[in-house]
Subunit: 299 residues, 2 copies
């Protein structure tokens, strides 16, 4: 079964009211927002990635989920598989950097010894503001917006794998910055919000489906960086790579038509009554790519 | 580095005040108690263990940490590596059984696909009572008590590995019962409390060290089950196996001398000023075994 099947099956178990029927990336407990993201060697990061960057990314991907709910980090619990000493020490340095820079101290966790590829786990806890935007709150005629950049991380992954390219793209893959400040400001106006982790198209489709809408996205409106355009060009294929690559940790959000976002952001489409995901490029309809993003499936 | 070295290094990172300097198995956030325990295939469970039992154990080991702080379960976040469909379905059934029987609904989590041995992760959240006993609260002259049974699970592990033996011992290994009710009652009187997860001797030594005391344990006083005594005998070697086997999830706690526990429990020793762990068997000093219990170390 794949991730969606598994989550559907989990809905048959006893669920806490704060689970929101598992339709979101986070849970709610009073004014706390809880999230737990795993990253696995060979799946979410390369065995050759520097351990300090892996630690940073582990913290950043979790805090990005908090950002999408407008929550400020409170603390985190780490689940760590001991490896070799050198890796462990470098990991700790990176984790300390992230905890300091992103404002998320450690609360605790568990340490074990495992042979084979590492799976690292973090549980992050944040404090919500007065309004927590859900994934399922978008309405037909709402506009779809993105704060942050999409596409840099996927190009950075190719560079980490050995392709030549600028450090700016590599850094976007290895040291993503969760948009905590932007998320907090947006939470009060967004009708729906989530972070872009698996790919813009698949994540936008999930937001639309959860909201009972369809969504149309204009590839020509994607917020891509000058470095990405210089490196990969501005063809339709390059735009589609940016829209499906994932690992971006931009914020995807819906605003009522006519409402301007209170942070720097780009309008990339609109929700509608017609179900499904529709993609255009400067007005021309574009067929959906085979993969809209990253989906975890059974082996 | 081993687990203790890693935790010592973590203390150099930004810590939340609720981390209690990482001297306990749990963290505190307002009236919430947070814990996160991982279990790994081939380390904490056998590849041949039934997946439903693995799910039960994952939930039970986390709730046992809550029990030791006198907290009632609120909910849990699951970190799950997708495997084959049959395993996943059986796991979900066992997780549902545990959630229902132990009173801990799901709040959320994350699902990924990983090749190789599974590492399962749970974060459990509980609500504390007015008093939360720490690991470090024991004082010289306090008595050391155990609620529950020690030694059954280690014998059950041998049975799971193929040795002949009764189901009662196998069940103690595969479906441990966290002592949530006992923990809640004990929290108001215990000066220190923790669960026995890695082995009675190593865990008692940890409690004494954290408390700045030494501790003396009488092997003849250990609460062992009739099934264990029938299966493994009552020799000193059998008692030492029970005292070092781990995976018991009994509650180990300290009470002032003269105070009787409000639940069924056994006095197994006393804290003192002399540092270190001292073991006797009906009054005869016994040399410490090479392994006091389970320690996670780097490969």
């Amino acid at each position: 079964m794949n991730e969606a099947d598994f989550i559907a099956a989990l809905r048959g178990l006893p669920l806490h009211a704060g689970a929101g029927d598992l339709t979101d990336d986070t849970a709610r407990l009073g004014d706390l927002i809880l999230t737990k993201d795993l990253i696995a060697e060979g799946v979410h990061y390369l065995p050759i990635d520097p351990p300090g960057d892996v630690a940073w990314k582990l913290m950043a991907v979790n805090l990005s989920d908090l950002a999408a709910k407008g929550a400020a980090p409170v603390g985190a619990l780490l689940g760590y598989p001991l490896g070799d000493d050198e890796w462990d020490h470098a990991f700790l340095t990176g984790l300390g950097d992230a905890a300091m820079a992103l404002g998320c101290p450690l609360l605790g966790g568990d340490t074990i010894r495992v042979d084979g590829p590492r799976t690292l786990s973090l549980t992050a806890i944040g404090r919500a503001g007065p309004h927590v935007p859900l994934r399922r709150g978008a309405r037909p005629r709402d506009r779809l917006w993105v704060a942050g950049i999409v596409g840099d991380a996927a190009l950075g992954l190719s560079i980490a794998r050995g392709q030549a390219g600028p450090d700016a793209l590599l850094n976007a893959y290895r040291r993503p910055i969760p948009l905590l400040g932007e998320g907090r400001v947006l939470a009060s106006v967004a009708t729906a919000m989530m972070d872009v982790s698996d790919g813009l198209l698949i994540d936008a489709d999930r937001m639309a489906t959860a909201s009972g809408c369809g969504v149309t996205i204009d590839l020509s409106a994607l917020p891509r960086s000058p470095a990405a355009i210089a490196h990969d060009g501005d063809s339709r294929a390059a735009r589609l790579r940016a829209a499906t690559g994932g690992d971006d940790y931009a914020l995807l959000f819906a605003l009522p038509d006519g409402v301007a976002p209170p942070v720097d952001a780009r309008c990339i489409g609109a929700f509608g009554h017609a179900p499904g995901l529709h993609v255009t490029d400067s007005g021309t309809p574009v067929g959906l790519p085979e993969n809209l993003g990253w989906v975890h499936a059974s082996r």
